[in-house]
Amino acid sequence: MMDTPFNAVVPMLCVVFAALAVMMAEAFRGRDEQMALGGLGIVGLVGAAVSSMLLWNRNASSFGVIVADNFGLFVTMTLVIVGVLTIMFSSVVVRRDGLPAGEYYALVLFAVVGMIMMATANDLLVIFIALEILSLAVYVLTGIRRDDPRATEAAFKYFLLGAFSSAFFLYGIAFTYGVSGSTRLDRIGAFLAAQSMSDSPLILVAIGMLLVGFAFKISAVPFHMWTPDAYEGAPAVVTGFMSTGVKAAAFAAFTRVFLSAFEPFSVDWAPMIWILAVATMILGTVVGVAQTNVKRMLAYSSIAHGGYLLVGLIAANDVGKAAILFYLLAYAVTNVAAFGVIALLGTRDAANDELRDFSGLWHGRPALAALMTVCLLSLGGLPPTAGFIGKWYIFSAAVSAGYYGLAIIGVLTSVVSVFFYLRVVVMMYMEERDPGLAAPAHVGGVGMVALVASIVVIFYLGVLPTRVLDLAAESISTIF
């Protein structure tokens, strides 16, 4: 790749152009003409992936606010994978549910743009704009099924509370700017490191406000309450997308902001995040046990997973930082696939996401049941899946940083969480199909391809994690 000042934004631009192309194609589409709009999007995402690989190890930076360092590129790759899988699952769902294809894919792609921007931004203002881009797109995607009151409700709740949290986030940026005179993370970091400001309440309040904004996006307790509603109300494939992509992007920015700009204040923010992490792990797990709706159960599970990721952030040693990256990837692939199964099981009129809808799935659709089992085992952190390596890595980071309490709580909650993942497995294998239920829906080819691909990745990460772990370690070595 040529060295130009714009290198760092190339991955993002690929996706932007794909989104624009999708919109144009939709505009000029004949009334009943079929177009592979999703395919267009995948082309753009692949372009983003290729350009990310070319940018690897080059530390490109554009406009001073977008940095394509390895950390950002690793997350970008994760987001591309999430995007590709989502589009593949969507291709089945969009046709089945009669969703507006052009708008749908354009919004997914724009959301990915926002996520990539957030992961590579080096400026609080850009992070905020990226946050809004992805949030707006996801709010609309949540409510894209206009005929479903649950979806409309979920979208609206998500939107209102998201706006509320954005206000805090913006306030935090303003305070930070007021103290340091800049929104660039490197300058803020340098400024804070140079002055001894440990007693300044202003900067602490700014950190607190930014923490609130991030905590909302990663649905940490007590900023999580929108999560179960939004996840349950949204179409399953969108839920898979937002539970992984938004979380990955928010975590990338969270890590970058707190471990670069606010690193001098880690003594101050670590205890607070400790509290959030513990509350998040415990609540996500315990309430998850009582759920009877699989989507809702997975919503609580994803809350808990946010807690595990926070553990890595607190540990903040090299292992911890690399663990965050690895965990994000493992969690993203697994969760997208799990929601993909739910999406594929649904029909236009019924979501089929209650626990009993899974009864006897093994007898009707053995392949789907087996794939779902792998996803659930990976979420539960059982070897030899991606989830196990991720958890092991996170907890060993916590232990080696001396956070024994976190490790104990983390292990305990993940042990308990297996209980509710396995409940679905039990339903699928050890129950007879409820005679009142319709036979499980037929699954389209593209969706199945996406599922099998995710499973391959899950096992790859679980059995041969070394390559990816090295990449993750390489990613954090260049920054922080």
């Binding site: 969703l99 919004l107 203002l125 704009i129 797109a137 206009r146 007021g178």
Partner: protein, 178 residues
């Protein structure tokens, strides 16, 4: 001294108007109060030597956006908020709970005030940026916007595009486009 007086008057007015926006039952009045609040904010910007921002505030917010709001309110023809759905027996609707919310909000205000008051003399970083003269200059503002913040500026266009697409999707009538 008169500057301080004007400042307090304007901020008091802005706060009062904002409170009335929430307090009004009639959406039309709410919109009007919002315009008043924006006007007061514009006054504050003038006081801060930022006439450009003040004018932009009036033109864009108080002007364009509020007109749109008014149209929407009138088109929906909702003279009053519909209060019939209030379920007063719900445990979270009890006065005590509502008061707790109020208490939390005022606590937040106190905290912010506390933080700002105890942080006098800080903000050296901002002061270094330039004196009032330069900050208020449209020319300088334009330069900064298209050099230092050019990416943020361009990225905003994507944000607006997403918002437009979103509005189209949500405004589409059911069953269309399938």
């Amino acid at each position: 001294m008169p500057e301080t007086l004007i400042f307090y008057a304007l901020s008091g007015f802005a706060i009062g108007a904002s409170a009335m926006v929430i307090g009004q039952r009639n959406p039309m009045y709410s919109v009007m109060m919002l315009i008043a609040s924006f006007g007061a904010l514009a006054g504050l910007y003038v006081q801060l030597d930022a006439p450009f921002v003040a004018v932009a505030q009036i033109i864009i917010y108080a002007g364009a956006i509020m007109v749109l709001f008014l149209f929407v309110v009138m088109l929906l023809n909702a003279p009053k908020e519909d209060g019939s759905e209030w379920d007063r027996s719900h445990p979270l609707r009890q006065p005590a709970v509502v008061r707790l919310g109020g208490l939390l909000a005022s606590l937040l205000v106190v905290q912010l005030g506390w933080a700002l008051l105890s942080a006098r003399g800080l903000g050296g970083g901002v002061a270094a940026f330039g004196d009032a003269e330069t900050v208020s200059s449209v020319r300088v503002l334009g330069r900064v916007l298209f050099s230092e913040y050019v990416f943020a500026f361009e990225a905003t266009s994507i944000l607006i595009l997403v918002a437009m697409v979103g509005a189209v999707v949500l405004a589409r009538r059911e069953g269309e486009g399938s």
